[in-house]
């Protein structure tokens, strides 16, 4: 049973709750393998995708997950809505609630917005990414993928490479993997790894060759083009030369290392096409697993009694 009506972050979940979601997702993955990829489970419920940041991939994944559960889906994208006319966040949220939303999937550029909605609305809130805080369903689907391929997570060494400071995916993964007993390493330039992160149970490396030694799972993060010119690193080319994953570098890791990426990839920058399309990559499976995990989250949240 999940303890609260929302999924705001991995921080708020216990190890048992994470495992419950992963086990439930396994059941849903079966459904996705059938001809009729639909179950009537959440029939009559309404899910609203409230996306203040553009995102086709995540939004489509949630939309599909909801539809597979027979939920009605409304997509509320900011540029097409009244928020542009100056409506406040609280008014937009209350309007969505008045439309009858049971589940609200929220993506916003400000950290803490899902928590704000949770405090002010009755519906179940699912965080699809809030600023540089968390992206919990991404971490859950990453954990599901690892568990499926490796049989378990405890004791594995996982390296997360890239712009840790600005990555909500990195943060959620750090919390999720450490709660499940993995050893987490962060690799990147010092300008992209916040000082205080060393107070978390992680090991920090600035060299790929050093950091990849003995690694079982490699999660490559997307380097955002917008970070250029702000003093974090001299150029994208230099970043790519030092922290991009290549076959030579991958050789430092375990033979059966898995290469993961939350997408979308910058081919040729943080990851070569050879690796992205190669035998060690599970990037496309992450996408499939994403739907099963999101179905599991919606199923479990829809069942929590609201007082």
């Amino acid at each position: 049973m999940l303890k609260t009506k929302d999924l705001l972050g991995i921080k708020e979940l216990s190890g048992e709750e994470i495992n419950l979601i992963l086990d439930t997702a396994a059941g849903f993955k079966d459904v996705l393998g059938r001809d009729i990829k639909k179950v009537p489970t959440l029939r009559g419920k309404t899910a609203v995708n409230l996306f203040f940041e553009p995102s086709t991939r995540t939004r489509t994944s949630f939309e599909l997950a909801a539809k597979r559960l027979s939920t009605d889906v409304i997509n509320f994208s900011v540029p097409t809505s009244s928020v542009v006319k100056g409506e406040s966040l609280i008014d937009t949220a209350l309007t969505v609630q008045a439309l009858g939303a049971d589940l609200i999937i929220i993506r916003h550029s400000s950290a803490g917005v899902p928590h704000f909605l949770s405090k002010n609305l009755r519906a179940s809130i699912i965080n699809a990414g809030d600023g540089t805080n968390e992206h919990p369903t991404q971490a859950l689907l990453d954990a599901f993928t690892i568990k499926e391929k490796k049989g378990g997570i405890e004791g594995l060494t996982v390296a997360i490479v890239g712009d840790i400071a600005h990555s909500r995916v990195a943060k959620s993964n750090i919390y999720c993997l450490t709660k499940l007993g993995a050893k987490v390493r962060l690799i990147g330039p010092p300008t992209l790894i916040p000082k205080q992160i060393e107070e978390m149970p992680v090991a920090v490396f600035h060299s790929m060759e050093e950091g990849l030694k003995g690694v079982d799972i490699l999660i490559m993060l997307r380097i955002q083009m917008e970070r250029q010119g702000k003093g974090f690193f001299p150029s994208i080319e230099e970043y790519s030369k030092n922290w991009g994953i290549t076959s030579e570098r991958l050789a430092h890791a375990q033979r059966d290392v898995l290469v993961m990426h939350p997408g979308p990839m910058n081919r040729g920058i943080e990851i070569t096409s050879e690796i992205a399309d190669g035998p060690r990559s599970v990037i496309l499976e992450q996408v499939t697993n994403g739907i099963a995990v999101r179905m599991a989250v919606m199923y479990l949240l829809a069942g929590v009694r609201r007082s």
């Binding site: 950290a111 803490g112 704000f116 600023g131």
Partner: protein, 432 residues
């Protein structure tokens, strides 16, 4: 109006008073102070006969009215957040009889006509004395000096660009030099905006955990270092506003040891809370400078104890509820502090960090000295600005009961020990 306050424990270190006695007020001024000595009872009978109103202080402490050097009254321009009327109402509710209002109004208080407006409104609707602080630069843009001379003539007692720092060091130097003409302090909001870079909380574990942009302590400390150096260079009077970090306290301590004319203030939230208060994205804990770590909090307390920090001011910053009911990044910074300041500060007395006399220094006597106010204090001829304090009465903070329009406080629900029972401002009585 003739008022007798009897049976009070009169306490004012500047006058060497600490004992039971009565105070007689006439026409808004202190007429007589009758300490419990030989001729006491006879004198009291006489005063009782002439009084129109008698207040029995019942043994409670009778002290000089509190003076808040750092308040945002929001009028003119932001009356939806607060007005001079509601702000001063909140002040007397909190035990303050004088407040100094910051110039980040709309229009900015950078010329004498706004000074005149504020003083007139305060006379019409204010519950206590309002002393305006004028802007250092025109529009608080940090480029051209404002007309300090004419503003002083109209009634300004100090200058500050609070809300913003004066980023340009040359302008700050000139402001300090020029202020010497009028012997008024320059109150500096010390913050390096380029280092702050849009941050909203303290840069530390909390900012990483919550995914919020952090403001490093160095953003404050670098500017304090600069302003102290400029104060030394120019010989002007520098007062550092809202000190929040360990490093800042140390810089000020060293400067004082060197003999620099610097004074400093802190606010109750910096010795009562840490960055943990922001958890759950509570916008009521969003303030600038931000709440820091426990190490900083202890350093602030030590700075108060050893005299490095001279003053406790509130930085009372009321905001409308709608403005705080939004994304953390977008919410304005500020805490509505006038009505919780005394309760929180008396906590330091209960803890043993300060004695009651030291607290009176921090919240009344030192501000008076820094601002050059010589008609304060419990002596014959002073303005009757008095507060009767119940040191031990416990009460629960409820923003719904605030007189201020601003309900934005992180102290909602706190049980505080100590409060102002009766506040008398210029001889007018305000009771709880």
């Amino acid at each position: 109006m003739k008022i007798l306050i009897k049976n009070g424990h009169i306490i004012d270190p500047s006058q060497g008073l600490d004992g039971m006695g009565d105070i007689f007020i006439e026409n808004g001024k202190i007429k007589e102070i009758n300490m419990k000595r030989k001729a006491h009872d006879a004198k009291r009978k006489e005063l009782l006969k002439s009084s129109v109103r008698t207040i029995d202080a019942g043994g409670l402490f009778v002290m000089p009215g509190l003076i808040d050097m750092h308040v945002h009254l929001r009028e003119p321009g932001f009356e939806y957040k607060e007005t001079i009327k509601t702000g001063t109402g909140a002040a007397v509710h909190g035990g303050f009889t004088t407040v100094c209002c910051m110039p980040n109004t709309y229009p900015v208080h950078d010329n004498a006509s706004v000074t005149e407006f504020i003083i007139r409104r305060a006379a019409e609707e204010g519950s206590c004395t309002v002393l305006p602080i004028g802007a250092i630069t025109k529009g608080q843009k940090g480029e051209e000096l404002a007309e300090m001379g004419t503003m002083v003539k109209e009634g300004c007692i100090a200058f500050s660009d609070d809300g913003s720092p004066v980023m340009n060091s040359l302008i700050m130097r000139r402001a300090l030099e020029y202020s010497r003409t009028f012997e008024v302090p320059i109150i500096s909001h010390c913050e390096d905006i380029t280092l702050t870079d849009g941050g909203v909380v303290n840069e530390g574990l909390m900012s990483v955990t919550l995914g919020l942009k952090g403001i490093p302590a160095e953003s404050e400390e670098i500017m304090i270092y600069r302003d102290i150096a400029l104060a030394e260079l120019t010989g002007a009077r520098l007062h550092v506003a809202h000190v929040s970090t360990e490093g800042s306290v140390q810089l000020i301590r060293d400067a004082k040891n060197r003999g620099v004319r610097v004074t400093a203030e802190t606010c109750p939230h910096y010795f009562s809370l840490t960055e943990d208060a922001v958890s759950g994205y509570d916008t009521n804990a969003k303030v600038n400078p931000p709440l820091r770590t426990d190490i900083d909090r202890q350093a602030i307390k030590e700075g108060l104890r050893d005299g490095t920090i001279d003053v406790i001011a509130t930085d009372h910053a009321p905001h409308h509820a709608d403005e705080k009911l939004r994304e953390f990044d977008m919410a304005p910074s500020g805490i509505s502090g006038l009505e919780t300041a005394l309760g929180l500060s008396l906590g330091l007395v209960h803890e043993g960090v300060l004695t009651l006399k030291e607290l009176i220094e921090k919240m009344s006597l030192r501000p008076a000295r820094i601002l050059g106010l010589d008609d304060k204090g419990l002596k014959v001829g002073s303005v009757a600005d008095i507060v009767i304090v119940d040191l031990n009465r416990e009460w629960k903070v409820d923003p719904g009961e605030f007189v201020s329009k601003g309900r934005n406080t992180p102290f909602n629900g706190w049980i505080l020990k100590g409060m102002a029972a009766v506040t008398i401002s210029k001889g007018r009585i305000y009771e709880q």
